[in-house]
Amino acid sequence: MSTQANRRNWGARLVVLLPYLWLVIFFLVPFVIVLKISLSQTALALPPYVPVFDLAAGWAGLMEFTTQLSVDSFRLLSSDAIYLFSYFKSLQIAAISTILLLAIGYPIAYGMARAPRAWQPLLVMAVVLPFWTSFLIRIYAWINILQRDGLLNDVLMRLHVIDTPAAWLSSDTAIYIGVVYSYLPFMVLPLYAALERMDESLLEAAADLGCPRWKTFWLVTLPLSLPGVAAGALLCFIPIVGEFVIPDLLGGSETMMIGQTLWTEFFSNRDWPVASAIAVSLLVLLLLPILFYERFQQRALEGGQ
């Protein structure tokens, strides 16, 4: 009887342990490796950094290994304007894109949530549909649209909005277009989920108490959809900060987002320690909004109970 209970206990523990095991193997261990590389020095060797951790060297080897670690790469990051500018650029693009995404995504999600019930699965489908085409192909399609003799200039000139073809590609505008286009589903879906489950009788109650429709939106709908706004904003903001493909393909060469800088350090300069330091700093930087979101959710949960 008791052995059976014990076995069940072990089973339960294993189930709880699995996600932690997953995190340790696929997140913590790689992170520690990256962290270790960020504390190393570049070297013309394979791998291209020292010191290399060698268990065979024993205790003395370990001591020597620790003394060779340094924060030089991090010092470089904070002193060289290129990196700071890269970080700033990434945060700026992510912040502005997130605001644009909210401005475009909210009306879409609102319209979806207010559409007849029967249409809603179809509308959700329409939002998700772009995922069925490869992300890269979609970005290449934007190159086609935005280039000098592309579709956009064609249409604008035919409509006599502009007389000479404008340069869309290789600019921040192109990055914003690409980012907003690519991340829209990630903004719309959490917003839709928040708006869709809102009790319609709350809107009727507000109307009943003397609230015109536009005011009901500000006093009831918007505050109640804030968890969806937070989820959507984070779901977009965090990956956009680290975005590499979109700025690389659509953006100009004079501005670099942090993802591009990292790529350059790693592949062009073969400076693994600096590349790793960039990655570690980025993670720490992004941890702040995530922690903020966690706090927000915690409070929302407590308030809603």
């Binding site: 009788s201 009727e204 109650a205 507000a206 009943d208 108490l209 609230c211 009831v220 809603g304």
Partner: protein
Amino acid sequence: MADGGDAAQEKAASEKPPLVRFEAVTKRFGTVAAIEALSLDIAQGEFFALLGPSGCGKTTLLRMLAGFETPTEGRILLDGEDIGAVQPHERPVNMMFQSYALFPHLTVEGNISFGLRQENATRAEISERVAEMLALVRLQGFGERRIGQLSGGQRQRVALARSLIKRPRVLLLDEPLAALDKKLRAETQFELMELQRRLATTFVIVTHDQEEAMIVADRIAVMNHGRVMQVAPPPEIYERPNSRWVADFIGEATIVEGRISASGTMDSALGQLRVANTGGARSGDTVWLALRPEKIGVSSERLAGELNTVPGTVSEIGYRGDISIYKVRLADRSLMKVALANVGARGRALFKADDLVWVSWPPDAGVVLYS
């Protein structure tokens, strides 16, 4: 409508125009008619109940009064004015929703003051009225609580306070007590009545619970299939139903079919029955006699006197504590429901199943119905 009290009320109603008047109102959703050519008057200060089975249109009627639905045909008058075109947020009526529809992101105070804030009331006025409302529903000290921290009964009172703070001409209550447990519901019914009397506000309540409607309301409109079957004070609805449907829907009733004879009695499968009042039915008319279970007596011997007596066998007994329901199988195989108070302290049944008994009732116990 021959009753004296009712005539007085009719007279009082005719002296001043009703507060709410439905004039031949029809509401169709697509091709389905939820309300059909319904006319109804509700007087100022009345506690009025809309009672009926689910899907009878009572909630639609209430929502039309609140402005959430517009009539397909007909007019709704409030104080003699057509309110058909008035938006919900501009109507001087407030509603207490079935699910309460409290704003989860606001505190108790935020919820209660919501209506006043839409009228640009001053800060001092708002806090004064909120305090007054909190006292009214006995929630002093709860103003800062979040809705999530309240019990069901407390939420119900917040919803009530929120719908009363604007001092509406009519308060609409959509199944206001349905979410409460039985004991709390019974207490709250009396609180609602007291509140209504104190505020002298017109209350219109929608309920499917006939006991609730009987207890709280001054008048009840019994509805079925989008029509009003009968409008009357609760005792009249119960004692003088105007149709078999109402007699059967409200409380319990045994209905006996028969024909009025030349001598003014009623010929039925149970024999010749004496009735006190044929209500204008002429000889040869087919009528139905509705008998309430508590107005019928059961005895082991045949009773003498001016009574209708019919033999039968006890078929089933349902013990309910205060009373027991006896189902008595009569000579024509029909069942008659009889309620007997369990006055003996031991809880011993007066009769057993399969006992041969006589059921009897005085001529004035039943109601003669034509439809």
